[in-house]
Each structure stands twice: as C-alpha cells, then as structure tokens.
Amino acid sequence: MSAHYLKPATLAEACEARAAHPDFVLLAGGTDYMVGSHHRPDPPGVIDLFGLEGLGGIEERDGAIRIGAGTTYAQLLRSDLVRERLPALFECAREVGAVQIQERGTLGGNMATSSPVGDTLPVLLALDAQVVLGSVRGEREVPYHGFCTGYRQIDLAPDELIVAVEFPRPPQGLVQFWRKVGTRRAQAISKVMVAASARLDDEGVIAHVRLAMGAVADRPVRLEQTEALLLGKAPSEALADQARDEVRREIVPINDVRSTKDYRLSAAANLAARFVRTLC
C-alpha cells in the first residue's frame, strides 16, 4: 500500500500532523532520504515540509539573523544578508553538493539528519546558533551546541519540528572561517570540515573564539580545549603551531571509507593553524 501523504499548508498544521503521526517521515528536500529509497519499503506516511512558508525566510530581527529551517542552500546563496553577515555559512552552502543538491537540500534537513559529515553543522557551532523547535505545545529555543546528542541523534521530541535557526548578529570585526577537505570540491562528502570564528580586542588579543569541526567525531564538535588555549592570547605563528598540537590532542577521528584517522588529524590540525594565521 502506498504511503500516506500529508502536505500541511501552515506551520500549525504541520505541528498537528507531527503530533498525530510521530511515526511518519518528515520530508524536506529529500536529498538524503531519497538516496536508496526505491530499494526500501515505503514508510507508513510522509509529512511533506518542502516549501512550507512557515519554515522559510531569512531575516534580521531583534539582534539576530533568523533563517527558516526549510531554507535551501540555493536560497542561502541568493541572500545578501547571508553573504554579508554570515560568510562562513555562505561559503559552506556553496560547497554542498552542486547546484542540483543546493536547490533541494535544506538547513533544517541537514540538522535533522545530523550526520557527522553534515556540512553546515560546524558552522552552526562556530556562530553560536540557536535552534527554534516547534510543536503543538509551543516553541522552545535551545543552543545548537548540545542539540546533537550522539551519532545522528538530536534533542528533538517525537512531536517536534525544527522551525528555524537563529544566529546572534555577528559583532563588528568577527572573523569567520570555513574550510572543507574532500576528494573534489563539488559533490564529494567531506573528509574534514572546519568552521571557526574569532574577534580580537583593541589590544590585538583574542577576546572571543569558536573552533568547530565535522567528520572528526560521532557528531559535529567544538574544540573547547583548543579554544581555551587561544583565548586571551595574541595570534602569532607560534600560537598557530600550539593550536595545531592542541587539536591533535583533542580529537580522535576514525578510519573509514572516505579517509584515515592520520589524514584527518593532520588536515584538521593544519586547518586550525591556518585559521589562527588568518587572525595575525
């Protein structure tokens, strides 16, 4: 029998559908779900969220930039606000798949799938994103840091939807950094991703720093030990070298089909050092 298909017209309807059918598949752009789907039995039902207006929009308000969870990578790339204020997210979106994937894949879908190689996830950590969750019980907001609780696990109740992501407005002078290492720039699934941000104070000392990585653990991670090493110091070649060493102590990547533990360690450590050098 064919799967039930629900296409809510509003966010409220979507929340009601989710509350009534926690066993249905929540479908955004389908770029992850559809891979291999024709070899699997149909799910009991589908709640189709793609294009839902209540999950769209990119706007600046109350000191934050709010991006609807249904926003596609292509929409991020067409947004002046994202390009100007969230360059790390812009560069990241540009390297997700290629144009065809960018037209369908969504920010919320990336978070919901929560793969350790989800490209945008380290960017959310590096920019202190908040996640807005909605259900028939109301909305709640949680820091993205901690939202991913394990391998492909997120802190989402069975009746909840990811509604939006909010980025605190980046302060003047915040340096944003994004680098992805893969076999090829387009399409390739990442071997390592590094997203980071930092701000220097008037004395040239690092007053704020976030260093986040993907594909080096069972979930996207912030390297808080390395952040602590950098905080309060003036960026220099020597500090870049110390950061490189600290990263090697802090993460424990694995060998898998895409890369090796050793390669990931070297790439991650070198990218952290490069990030520190961009601050010099």
Partner: protein, 155 residues
C-alpha cells in the same frame, strides 16, 4: 496515490507512491526516457530535470513534491526539429561522446545560464560540477557552454 504532474506543458495523472522517484515516474510511467539514470544517488547529474526552471536531480525528488510545479525534461528543449543554441553547440563542438550525461548537461546548463547569463569559464565549471561525464569530455562541454555565452552576449 494519484499524482497530478505538469510535464513539458502537459498535465498528466499517474498512480505512484508519494516517495516514488520523479525519475522513475518520468521514464517508466510517462515514457520520457531522455532523462537518464546514472548513479541514482544525486552524485552524477545525469537525471537532471527542471522544476520551475531550476535544475534538480530527479532521482532525489519525491514525485509528490513535483505536483503543482512546471517540470521540464530534455525532450522539451528542442521545439520540433529546432534545437536550442546550447544543443547545437554541444553537437558541433563534440561536447557529447557516449551521450548518457548529455541530457543532464543540456538541462543544467539551460537553467544556470537563465539565472547567470555571463559566467566565466571557471564559473561554468563550478555550475556544472554536479554533472559527471565518464567519457571525461569536460573541455568540449565547457567549450560548448562558453560559446553559447559568447554568442548570446554578442547579440
């Protein structure tokens, strides 16, 4: 379930799972076999079609999500015997070898030039990075797209 699809300007009703691949509905139910299946996982772009003017991988689009949209396949590019300038350039410059990737290339290039009419050679490469050619005829494909950009902008 019954799905209503608008393909190449014509309305069709098909019976398919909501999560059937648009690719399969086009090829097997509507007999539009110009759209090819390459990898089936969104890597190669051979199955590219236009949805509301944007290039997407039809192997990753659930058929139900294509309802209410204008779907265009490679069959709809030429009007009768009149090829588009891009199709002509692909033929004349040899931007096609075995032909499996060609429908996807033609579709994707059509969409990206609509949005960005004057890309550089480097930018063309980036815009077509989701279309793999295993004959590795990339230079000639890029040459063809570049010629179209040059010709259109000269007008």
């Amino acid at each position: 379930m019954k799905l209503e699809l608008n393909v190449n300007g014509a309305a069709h009703e098909v019976d398919a799972s909501p999560v059937a691949r648009l690719l399969d509905v086009l090829r097997e139910q509507l007999q539009l076999t110009g759209t090819k299946e390459g990898c089936g996982e969104g890597e190669c772009g051979a199955c590219s079609v236009l949805i509301d003017g944007r290039a997407v991988n039809s192997c990753l689009v659930p058929a139900a999500q294509a309802q209410g949209c204008a779907i265009r396949t490679v069959e709809d590019l030429a009007q009768g015997d009149a090829l588009t300038d891009l199709q002509t350039a692909l033929i004349e410059l040899g931007g096609t070898q075995c032909g499996i990737c060609t429908p996807g290339i033609a579709i994707t290039a059509t969409a990206v030039l609509e949005e960005e009419p004057a890309p550089s050679r480097e930018r063309i490469r980036e815009l077509l990075a989701g279309n793999l050619c295993r004959c590795t005829g990339y230079q000639l494909i890029i040459d063809a797209v570049e010629r179209v950009v040059r010709e259109r902008n000269a007008k």
